[in-house]
């Protein structure tokens, strides 16, 4: 997934986990960490994303 860091503006592919590779703590956490400034944030979680997708689908159906 391509993300843009909200602090430094750097664009990167979060699936590469560049920053995580050198982090002894966060190998398997839900956070995305910017390889440039190291700001970490949550971009998506399973439950909330699933609920949002439900809403999106309904909207599309409603429009057509």
């Amino acid at each position: 997934m391509v993300v843009k860091c909200p602090v430094c503006g750097y664009r990167f592919d979060s699936s590469l986990n560049r920053a995580c590779k050198s982090c002894p703590v966060g190998f398997d956490c839900d956070r995305i960490c910017c390889p440039n400034c190291l700001y970490a944030w949550i971009e998506s979680t399973s439950l909330v994303s699933r609920i949002l997708n439900l809403f999106k689908k309904e909207k599309v159906i409603g429009r057509s």
Partner: protein, 656 residues
């Protein structure tokens, strides 16, 4: 296949096509539709999941192939769409490009344009959505822009077919844009070297060199196939060498240089008229960057956090949930239900003094949830408003001025991260002294702003002065980390902000989604540990070890820290998770077991404690038991000594 058709296709492919290139959502497809008319084929780009459209464009009776590339923000590709866009350009080296940009966001478009220039492509710039730009008061001096860039610039509104004929006309004058970017010495040298090896193999050697340096997908398959193995190794070597010489990701530095030169073009050609509200935000944005006025802005934000998280969240909401809902309705209900169970062990496990429902779940949902929710809302607002880059910039400037490493403390201030060590561990450390310092930093600076937020909220419900004292200690620790970091990683360039976005009013739905996601993450991480902590206390209590532990800990708790014996419980909880420990102290304070001084001392000590047992285990896994134990053997005495000193000072001052 029909031979004549195939021949014609060949002939057409040999005539230079026109390619539409642009950022996502700038009305590129609409423009494509207008330019190509009815006949459009959509094909899948081989080897990808990306579709692109192809059609025909008629210019002065001549029929040319027209391609619509997938949306791209950069030709140093990060996404598959961007790879396809870049490859289309390489596949048709003689094509002319219509670079479509959103007039409201010229900057984003010019980033792409400057890369087209590096690829050596002939371009016409289409300033699309010109009508919307006009409405939002953005005025672009197209003539001047055209003169500066050396290419035709045409305003268009694709949806209303405006500017289309002029765009077609302009295609004949397409030229390579002039956007000089000053890549500094080392990068510039590396680019030249790589470019030399790519020239003659691939069109757009300079663009490819830069995008190769920028990221992982920079080298197109075509170039990889055509390069000889020694040449390929050589250019990879150049990149590796450059990467090890520079601390920042190369992609970041290259983007930064590009941004700088684009900014000067924007400044000369764009007048972004603003409404009163936007102007107000702009002024706040500028103030927040000012070395002096930035401080009152920061203080007002902190006051805002205090009232929203500390007063509204930790007092009003917690009051409703903890006392009324859980204390008055939910827990009595469960106590009655479990009261029917004749086995006291089971009853206590769920609703006893250390019960999963009455302690773990009540703390998590009634005490911590409201605080952390308000904290996440504030954090989302700070993130979306564009304040965080400003705060980062300001902190970095202050630290730089006093010769400390500001970047190392940023994750601690901003981050929800355990990331300080990421900076440190990327560097190979040689001496024992360096390793010790790193260990110390790991111990001190394992941050988690969510945990800090909870602690802050709980303190706020005690008193404002408690917050201020606690804050002073945290700031002192931050400075200590910055000082130590500058010893370990000296001379690290602290240029790390690509662009400072304009301040803007965040959208409520975005904040809501962000807050929900952070809550889900927090609850998933925290609640299991809360339950585990409660179970530990429950078992220790049943085995009569808890009372022993309290006795053993008494000299430290009562003697040094001036806290009641019961505080051992909160420290055990705090060893599992700092915020859970803080909740324990809050509970003691509410029940009159702690006085205000005791509460401050306890909170400061727990803040400096091991942040979270899960992290601790991973540190053991990744860095070895020895380092982990070393950490703990530093942290715990350090935390307790700070607490003891605070106890002496605060009680000595006799302010309470």
């Amino acid at each position: 296949m029909n031979r004549i058709f195939a021949e014609e296709k060949d002939r057409l492919i040999n005539t230079a096509p026109v390619i539409l290139v642009g950022n996502p959502n700038v009305g590129k497809s609409a423009l494509f539709g207008v330019l190509s008319g009815r006949y459009v084929e959509v094909s899948n780009y081989p080897g990808t999941t990306v579709d692109y459209a192809a059609g025909w464009i008629r210019i002065k009776g001549e029929k040319l192939r027209l391609f619509d590339s997938p949306g791209a923000d950069s030709l140093s590709p990060v996404s598959e769409d961007e790879i396809v866009t870049r490859d289309l350009l390489i596949l048709y080296p003689d094509s002319k490009i219509i670079c479509v940009v959103d007039s409201k966001n010229l900057k984003r478009g010019l980033v792409l344009l400057s890369q087209l220039a590096e690829f050596g492509r002939k371009v016409v710039l289409a300033l699309n959505m010109a009508d919307e730009a006009k409405i939002s008061g953005v005025n672009i001096d197209t003539e001047k822009l055209s003169k500066i860039l050396g290419i035709p610039v045409v305003s268009t509104v694709a949806t209303q077919r405006r500017g289309i004929e002029r765009l077609k006309e302009a295609l004949q004058h397409a030229a390579i844009p002039i956007i000089p970017v000053d890549y500094t010495g080392e990068i510039s040298n590396a680019v030249d070297k790589i470019e030399n090896r790519l020239r003659g193999i691939c069109h757009g050697a300079r663009g490819i060199s830069l995008s190769f340096l920028s990221g992982d997908n920079g080298l197109p398959a075509k170039a990889v196939n055509l390069l000889s193995d020694p040449d390929l190794n050589r250019i990879r070597q150049i990149k590796t060498r450059l990467e090890s010489a520079i601390a920042e990701p190369l992609g970041f530095l290259i983007a930064k240089r590009r941004n700088d030169s684009i900014k000067s073009i924007i400044d000369r050609t764009v007048d972004s008229g603003k409404t009163v509200g936007q102007r107000a935000f702009q002024i706040i944005g500028q103030l927040s960057l000012h070395p002096l006025y930035g401080i009152p802005v920061l203080i007002s934000i902190l006051i805002g956090i205090y009232y929203f998280v500390g007063v509204f969240g930790a007092q009003t909401l917690v009051g409703i949930l903890e006392e009324n809902l859980f204390g008055g309705i939910i827990n009595p209900f469960f106590e009655r239900i479990f009261g029917l169970i004749p086995i006291p062990f089971i009853r206590d496990l769920f609703v006893g003094e250390y019960g999963i429902l009455t302690m773990a779940i009540t703390y998590a949902l009634a005490l911590i949830l409201p605080i952390v929710t308000t904290f996440f809302i504030i954090f989302g607002i700070l993130e979306d408003s564009g304040y965080l880059p400003r705060l980062a910039f300001m902190v970095d400037r202050i630290f730089k001025k006093i010769g400390l490493n500001g970047r190392a403390v940023l994750p601690m201030i901003l981050g929800l991260g355990c990331d300080t060590m990421a900076v440190l561990t990327t560097r190979i450390l040689y001496s024992r002294k360096e390793k010790m310092l790193v260990t110390l930093l790991l111990a001190l600076a394992v941050p988690c702003s969510a945990q800090l937020g909870v602690t802050l909220g709980i303190l706020a419900s005690i008193s404002l002065s408690a917050v201020l004292i606690w804050l002073a200690v945290i700031i002192a620790v931050i400075f200590l980390v910055g000082y130590l970091a500058s010893k370990v990683i000296p001379g690290r360039s602290s240029e790390f902000i690509l662009e400072i976005p304009p301040m803007r009013l965040p959208k409520i739905e975005n904040i809501a989604v962000k807050t929900l996601m952070r809550l889900e993450w927090y609850l998933k991480e925290a609640v299991p540990l809360f339950i585990l902590g409660t179970l530990v206390l429950f078992v220790l209590d049943k085995l009569n070890i808890l009372i022993l532990a309290k006795k053993m800990f008494a000299p430290v708790a009562t003697g040094m820290l001036g806290l009641p014996e019961k505080s051992a419980e909160a420290f055990i909880m705090g060893f599992l998770r700092r915020d859970y420990g803080a909740a324990g102290f809050k509970n003691m304070f509410d029940n009159g077991l702690l006085d205000p001084v005791g509460a401050i001392v306890a909170m400061v000590t727990i803040t400096l404690f091991v942040p979270c047992i899960a992290n601790f285990f991973i540190i053991i896994k990744e860095r070895g038991l020895k380092t982990a134990l070393l950490m703990v053997s530093f942290i715990i005495p350090f935390a307790i000594s700070v607490g003891a000193i605070m106890n002496l000072v605060l009680r000595g001052l006799g302010l309470w």
